[in-house]
């Protein structure tokens, strides 16, 4: 039996030369008469170590980190096929602290399987949730989700159970399940990893959801900037269909369900659920007014369950292991685990799945390894480009929805970007307005015009710091307007990074430090 060698085909690994590595391995295996069985697996999510080459040994999988094609001859010389020593060797991957300390429920299979291998999926607990759902029946399945405490992982954090109950209660037909895979926040990649690395899990999650709420078709709206995810998911759909997990008789039952993949076209706003639905319908991605809610009148005017990738990808484990199992993780009203995406100026960024309640310090210093530059942390932005900044003084806060909200911050989709002391917070605040300006759908005035004016105000603060205080007052009034008068969260949340940057780092704006009494009175 040839030794099995794993080279990930996740986008990050590919960007770091995984394909060349794989080719080199096969070439040299042939030359040396040293056969090997090459598996392109999903990524472990430890991106600082990619391409992470792993080898099956009797003791377990041994890893070799940051391997390039050029190192292949040396690896063969070092007998890596039997776990031989080499400077890149990191020992048994499963024993890495970085992985052992995680609580991977959604990403349980990350790195273990060939994403498109149905056998691999089944052997690692795949389809158990769907089969159990078919036994429980739709209503009980809805309740399982409700009891688990799962909240929307896209960022809105709305209790999934309430959405499922609402859609299930609608009598209009047909109903739809829509997966929001338009992961647009800079610094996030959990959705991409999940689709590239474990596509059948998402399929299973959507099938369970459709079964529970009475939907017969599903759509995955996947951003065009994820070509590998697109290619992988297309193949996954075909294979799942051929194997009977999608189609007229799902898993041999009388439940019919299929999924269509649709690709976005480069608009961040289409990650907002109502714009997404407009885009799916072939229209401009404009935000819809509410009411009605998509759960009542959504895609093509029909009841629609819209969920983020991670929410749906978590459904199988909840239904397979039970609500109580999932709810057992977490803190306060934030139950379960969150796949946190560490990015930016960190030594060991990557996918860290932990129960809610983990502290920011643990995430940034222990998992993240502190700043890559070695310089002190100045600011941390959580939840994407419209997330608030936290200062180094707030790193002991636990990560959960309510705690961050109390500190005028948010969890969002779980992306955490770290900045060191070279960060110019005025430039970052300007970037927030700029981001909104370029991604605005343009429907509502506070966002369409406000973001441009906000950018201009901050630029004027940067160029004429003598009048910074006046600009700051105007900027605050504008932030207030955008927060309360915008049609959707794009305009509504732009004030978060802007206000937090000014409040925490006034010097970067040429503003005096406010006295402590005033600072606490600033809370909205």
């Amino acid at each position: 039996m040839s030794p099995t060698v794993y080279v990930p085909n996740d986008s990050v690994a590919l960007a770091l030369g995984a394909d060349a590595l794989a080719a080199a391995l096969q070439l040299h295996a042939l030359r040396r008469g040293s056969p090997l069985r090459l598996v392109r697996n999903s990524s472990r999510g430890l991106y600082s170590h990619e391409p992470l080459l792993e080898v099956d040994t009797p003791a377990g999988r041994v890893g070799y980190a940051r391997v390039s094609a050029e190192q292949v001859p040396a690896l063969f010389d070092a007998d890596f096929l039997h776990g031989g020593a080499h400077p890149s060797c990191i020992g048994l991957v499963e024993r890495l602290d970085w992985l052992q300390r995680q609580e991977r429920l959604t990403f349980a299979r990350a790195g273990l399987t060939d994403p498109l291998c149905l056998d691999d999926y089944a052997r690692h607990g795949g389809w158990a949730g769907l089969l159990r759902a078919l036994e429980l029946g739709p209503a009980a399945t809805v309740e399982e989700i409700a009891q688990s405490g799962l909240r929307g992982r896209g960022g809105a954090a709305f209790p999934a159970g309430i959405k499922w109950r609402t859609v299930a209660a609608q009598t209009a037909a047909p109903k739809y399940v829509v997966c929001n895979a338009d992961e647009g926040d800079s610094g996030t990649y959990a959705d991409r990893m999940a689709i590239e690395g474990d596509p059948y899990q998402l399929i299973e999650g959507m099938a369970i959801a459709a079964y529970a709420v009475g939907a017969s078709s599903g759509y995955v709206y996947l951003r065009s900037e994820y070509p590998h995810a697109i290619a992988t998911f297309k193949q996954a759909l075909e294979r799942a269909r051929a194997a009977g997990w999608l189609g007229a008789r799902v898993a041999g039952s009388s439940f019919a369900f299929d999924i269509e993949l649709r690709v976005g076209a480069g608009a961040y706003i289409c990650g907002e659920e109502s714009s997404l639905l407009e885009s799916l319908e072939g229209k401009r991605g404009l935000v819809r007014a509410r009411p009605p809610l998509p759960a009542v009148r959504g895609l093509f005017g029909q009841p629609t369950l819209v969920h983020n990738v991670i929410s749906l990808a978590t459904v199988p484990v909840i239904v397979a292991r039970g609500a109580a199992f999932y709810a057992n993780y977490g803190a306060g009203r934030s139950r379960g685990t969150l796949p946190i995406q560490l990015a930016g100026n960190l030594r060991t960024p990557g996918l860290v799945e932990k129960a809610f309640g983990v502290s920011l310090r643990e995430l940034i210093e222990d998992f993240g390894g502190g700043t890559a530059s070695g310089r002190p942390v100045k600011a941390v932005q959580i939840g994407g480009p419209l997330g608030a900044y936290l200062s180094a003084a707030e790193l002991d806060l636990p990560l959960d929805y309510e705690t961050l909200a109390q500190h005028q911050a948010m969890v969002g989709h779980g992306g955490i970007v770290v900045f060191d002391d070279r960060a110019d917070m005025a430039a970052l605040a300007r970037y927030a307005m700029h981001f909104t300006a370029i991604e605005s759908c343009g429907k509502c005035t506070p966002c369409r015009i406000g973001a441009v004016r906000g950018r201009e105000l901050i630029e004027r603060m940067q160029h004429a710091p003598a009048q910074a205080a006046e600009r700051a007052a105007e900027l605050e009034a504008l932030c207030d307007l955008m927060e309360h008068a915008s049609l959707c969260a794009l305009g509504g949340m732009t004030p978060y990074p802007v206000r937090s940057a000014i409040r925490l780092f006034p010097a970067d704006f040429g503003l005096p430090r406010p006295n402590p009494a005033k600072e606490s009175a600033h809370v909205e």
Partner: protein, 244 residues
């Protein structure tokens, strides 16, 4: 449906189309009012005598909710919902003119004003000008060097009306009028964010597009970005003297 169309009044704009439905009783600014189910809060407010400022709403078109001027406060609901896209509910208690709402409205109108030709404010009589007057906005704090649509070329291709994009407030009433009332679908919004613009056909001059020159867009435009050429001095001249 036909009975709803017949409830339109020439001298009143209810903001959103009248509906047929069972009566719903609610309170607006302390005034009790009853309107058919499916009516918007804006329509109910108009019935109750509250003059809620608005720009993108018009009672011959389905509500759009983009201008953010008609915001109201509803007891028990968070935030400041747009009254045009909020259906009435029995027992609702609504306030349309609190200081908070006035401030938000002024903020929105200041933003509009910051991208409108400064020399076409004084003396204007369009719906936009009247709304500025109603809310008391005459200036804005954003300076005069910011991005704007000033200088955008005016489309004079149609013999009867012109389109001046510098005055367009992207309320989309023209696009909706061409869809819902005329049914020609000649107009669309193109581009995104601040660059959004109203275009005819495939971004063609109006005359070359599918536009059938029915004038519904001109009639619906609150800022006279679309306006009849005949309203300008020097128009309507024929060689011979006209009747007095």
């Amino acid at each position: 449906m036909w009975s709803e169309l017949r409830r339109l009044k020439a001298d009143t704009d209810y903001g959103t189309p009248p509906r047929d439905g069972a009566p719903v009783a609610l309170e607006i600014d302390g005034v009790a009012v009853t309107v058919p189910a499916g009516s918007s809060v804006l329509l109910a407010a108009t019935e109750a005598g509250s003059q809620v400022p608005k720009l993108c709403a018009c009672d011959t078109l389905e509500p759009f909710g983009s201008c953010r001027v008609c915001l109201v406060e509803i007891e028990g609901k968070r935030g400041y919902p747009a009254s045009c896209t909020t259906p009435v509910e029995a027992g609702m208690v609504v306030r349309t003119a609190t200081p908070r709402l006035q401030a938000l409205r002024r903020g929105v109108l200041e933003l509009y004003l910051s991208d409108f030709p400064a020399d076409e404010i004084a003396g204007g009589w369009s719906e936009f000008h009247q709304t500025l007057e109603q809310v008391g906005v005459r200036s804005h704090p954003y300076g005069h060097n910011g991005a704007s649509h000033a200088g955008a070329p005016v489309d004079q291709s149609n013999p009867y009306f012109l389109f001046d994009p510098a005055k367009c407030i992207v309320c989309s009433r023209c696009v909706r009028a061409c869809e819902e009332i005329q049914g020609t679908f000649a107009l669309a919004l193109q581009g995104r964010g601040f660059d959004t613009q109203v275009v005819a056909g495939q971004n063609q001059p109006f005359f070359e597009s599918d536009c059938v020159s029915c004038g519904a867009c001109v009639q619906s435009c609150p800022s006279q970005a679309l306006v009849e050429k005949s309203l300008f001095d020097g128009a309507n001249d024929h060689a011979t003297a006209t009747a007095t």
